[in-house]
């Protein structure tokens, strides 16, 4: 307590004297010069003191959990009131295979579902498309039509579970299928809850599963905001994602800045449609990466909440505190896992998951140790889930809220990242917004530069990765999940039978109506619902929209 009465300039002088006379001399004697930097290349000082927080104000900069600017968390109770949702992203093979995995995960204490679709679905093509050759059921579950979706959720009551769907370019179509399945179960769209990722901007920036050009894609997303606010009020119509931006090579600050600027872009487009900010903003949610550098990640999550609260309140004039909340899901970092001595990945995941929890996440996916090779095996995914349960029930880290709040280091890092992210946001504002910045290739170039810088640092052993460029050793191969070759065949049989046995005239008619609505720039959600209910396939629906919107070809650069 004594330090509180000290003035910051006194501490600064004392710190400098300590550094010169004590620290530097002692360091010289024991270690060669070395740069201490984060995984993002950020320089970290040897010690943080109140001098690093010169104008720090408790109420303005930190405040209580559940109070603006929400640096300490969006809820007053945080994980004491409700533990984070343990949501393992999963999907493989046919809808039957994945349905079985979901029942397994729920039986073992998972608390929400998260659907991974195979690449043809993510790209909006059917399993019988030439580009789908070799891909069916590989990276996720194969969904071609409502028939597959019915199997995927059979025996899973959609009024009781919440479901997150990682789907972007064709998000509106898959969401329509989910609503249709709920209706068939007798569950009203008013009560279903979950999330569609539906964040196309980060696809152009990083993950690259785009279909239409940016502007019609944005229009389709605003359609889901508008429809959701009225008809599916408990649904999160977007999960604005930094995860993939980070995986593509961004630094922590680039992840933070580009993701929040994407969020700003969606709000601007929603407002231009004439939507009321406080009607759609509370349904916006976020999704971040949790990488290896523990404190930098925690500071990133804290800074994200603070910036978003300020943006929503001051830039957009939102009045409801719910609009100011940055609610987020976290996934541990896939790229940080290594193929060498793969059991060590369990430790990496645990550290990353801990950062997410201390950063105040609302839900969490922990990666499995075998994911540098393939989709996770059941054993590997169980360890990943158990890691979360150990954090929640054994470690005691969730006993108090924001335990690192007030740490000179963490607060200084939070402020520093906040400042840097705001600079990026301003820069993109000046370019004319994120759609424009993407057209100019700006975020893509920044990320590619960071990725290359990092690889060079690893190659030069400036960054050490245990088992990869240090402490190497031979390791026996580990058991991996294999996708049965029969999957593709089964899927093609089902697709053919669906296409044969439906009422063809109804399919044709609803697809024609969809095209007309797209041409007339109407909200497409009601039309998509009609299409999926006739068992029009995803590929047929996307093809109809491609006729109107065209397809995006990104400029090839490196």
């Amino acid at each position: 307590m004594k330090e509180r009465r000290q003035k910051a300039p006194d501490i600064k002088r004392a710190y400098e004297s300590w550094k010169r006379n004590k620290y530097s001399k002692a360091l010289e004697a024991c270690a060669p010069p070395k740069a201490f930097t984060t995984v993002s290349g950020r320089k970290i000082k040897e010690l943080y003191t109140p001098a690093d927080l010169p104008r720090f104000d408790f109420f303005r900069d930190l405040n209580f959990p559940g109070e603006y600017p929400f640096t300490r968390g969006i809820h007053p109770t945080m994980h004491r009131g409700r533990p984070w949702t343990m949501r393992q992203f999963s999907g493989f093979g046919t809808a039957e295979d994945t349905n079985k995995r979901y029942k397994y995960l729920l039986a073992h204490g998972q608390t929400g579902l998260s659907v991974a679709f195979h690449l043809p679905t993510l790209m909006g093509v059917d399993s019988d498309h030439p580009l789908a050759k070799g891909e069916v059921g590989k990276c996720g579950v194969a969904i071609d039509s409502l028939a597959d979706m019915e199997v995927l959720f059979s025996g899973l009551p959609l009024d009781k579970i919440t479901t997150s769907m990682t789907i972007n370019a064709p998000a509106a179509v898959l969401w329509a299928m989910y609503i249709a399945v709920a209706e068939k179960q007798g569950v009203s769209p008013k009560v279903i809850s979950g999330t569609i990722q539906n964040d196309i901007l980060k696809e152009y920036i990083a993950q690259k599963t785009f279909v239409f050009p940016p502007r019609p894609s944005m229009k389709l997303i605003v359609d889901t905001f508008e429809y959701g606010a009225k008809e599916v009020p408990r649904w999160n119509t977007i999960s604005i994602s930094g995860y993939h931006i980070r995986e593509a090579g961004a630094t922590a600050v680039q992840e933070l800045a580009f993701t929040l600027r994407d969020g700003i872009e969606y709000v601007i487009w929603g407002l231009e449609r004439g939507l009321e900010i406080d009607e759609f903003a509370p349904r916006l949610s976020y999704f971040f990466n949790s990488h290896n550098d523990f404190f930098e990640e925690i500071a990133k999550f804290r800074a994200a909440r603070t910036i978003w609260a300020e943006v929503m309140r001051d830039r957009f004039g939102a009045r409801s505190p719910r609009s100011w909340w940055l609610r987020f899901h976290t996934q541990t970092s896939g790229v940080s896992l290594v193929a060498q001595q793969p059991y060590n990945n369990v430790v990496r995941v645990a550290i990353q998951a801990l950062a997410a929890v201390l950063g105040g996440t609302q839900s969490l996916h922990t990666n499995s140790l075998d994911e540098t090779f393939a989709l996770p095996s059941e054993d590997a995914v169980t360890i990943a889930l158990r890691t979360q349960q150990i954090l929640a029930h054994e470690s005691g880290v969730a006993n108090t809220i924001d335990p690192l709040g007030g740490s000179y280091f963490v607060e200084a890092l939070t402020k520093e990242m906040e400042r840097e992210a705001k600079d990026y946001i301003k820069k993109i504002d000046h370019m004319g917004g994120m759609v424009r910045a993407i057209e100019l290739g700006f975020p893509q170039k920044e990320i590619a530069d960071s990725a290359y810088w990092y690889q060079k640092a690893v190659d030069a052993k400036e960054k050490i990765i245990v088992g990869v460029n240090a402490f190497e050793m031979e390791h026996e191969p580990i058991p991996l999940l294999e996708i049965d070759k029969a999957v593709a065949r089964q899927q093609l049989v089902r697709l053919q039978s669906v296409k044969k046995n439906r009422e063809q005239a109804a399919v044709k008619k609803t697809l024609a109506n969809l095209k007309k609505a797209a041409r007339d720039e109407q909200n497409l959600m009601p039309y998509l619902l009609k299409c999926v209910k006739t068992y029009a396939s995803l590929g047929e629906i996307m093809d109809a929209l491609k006729d109107i919107y065209g397809e995006y070809e990104e400029p090839v650069t490196f």
Binding site: L119, P120, L122, M123, P130, L131, A132, K133, G134, E135, K138, C139, E203, Q207, K208, T209, F210, E247, A248, G249, V335, V338, A339, Q340, T372, F373, A374, L375, A448, A451, Y452, Q455, K456, V458, D459, I465, G467, V468, N469, P477, L480, I483, E554, V556, T557, F558
Partner: protein, 140 residues
């Protein structure tokens, strides 16, 4: 007299959009003095083979993370042979389980670089195996 540069085609077959690795390799090879042509995403075997022939590539590097390599790699090798370009060596990287490596090599992929490989190792391999004007010797 200036030595003719090694020309490498970096190609992305498969539906995945994970181009971080491909782009990092492109830059590393360029910085090592090679000429690099990058195909961009989601290229079919046909497109990749045509591009390699058209660009007179000394080497093709495939990057794939979708798991479709068991289907796509053999098709690319087969098409190269059919079009009389079977002498262009093909190397690959991405998410490829170790146990698939022997099968892929048997099909004709010269080398597979698994996750964690340093870019300098790849540069070294290319320099060792490709000599300008005298394409790589046939697989022993």
């Amino acid at each position: 007299m200036p030595v003719k540069k090694i020309r490498v085609l970096i190609a992305k077959p498969g539906l995945d959009g994970h181009d971080r690795g491909a782009k990092v390799i492109c830059r590393a090879l360029r910085d090592a003095g090679m000429e690099v042509i990058y195909t961009g995403l989601r290229r079919t075997p046909d497109e990749i083979v045509s591009a390699a022939i058209q660009e007179d590539a000394d080497l093709i590097g495939l990057s794939i993370l979708s798991g479709a390599h068991p289907i796509l790699f053999p098709r690319i090798i087969k098409l190269l042979k059919e079009k009389g370009a079977g002498d262009i060596p093909v190397i690959a990287g991405g998410i490829i389980p170790e146990k698939d490596v022997p099968r892929m090599k048997k099909v004709g992929i010269r080398e597979i670089f698994l996750p964690g490989t340093s870019t300098q190792d790849i540069v070294g391999w290319i320099r060792e195996h490709i000599e300008k004007g005298k394409k790589i010797a046939k697989t022993p």
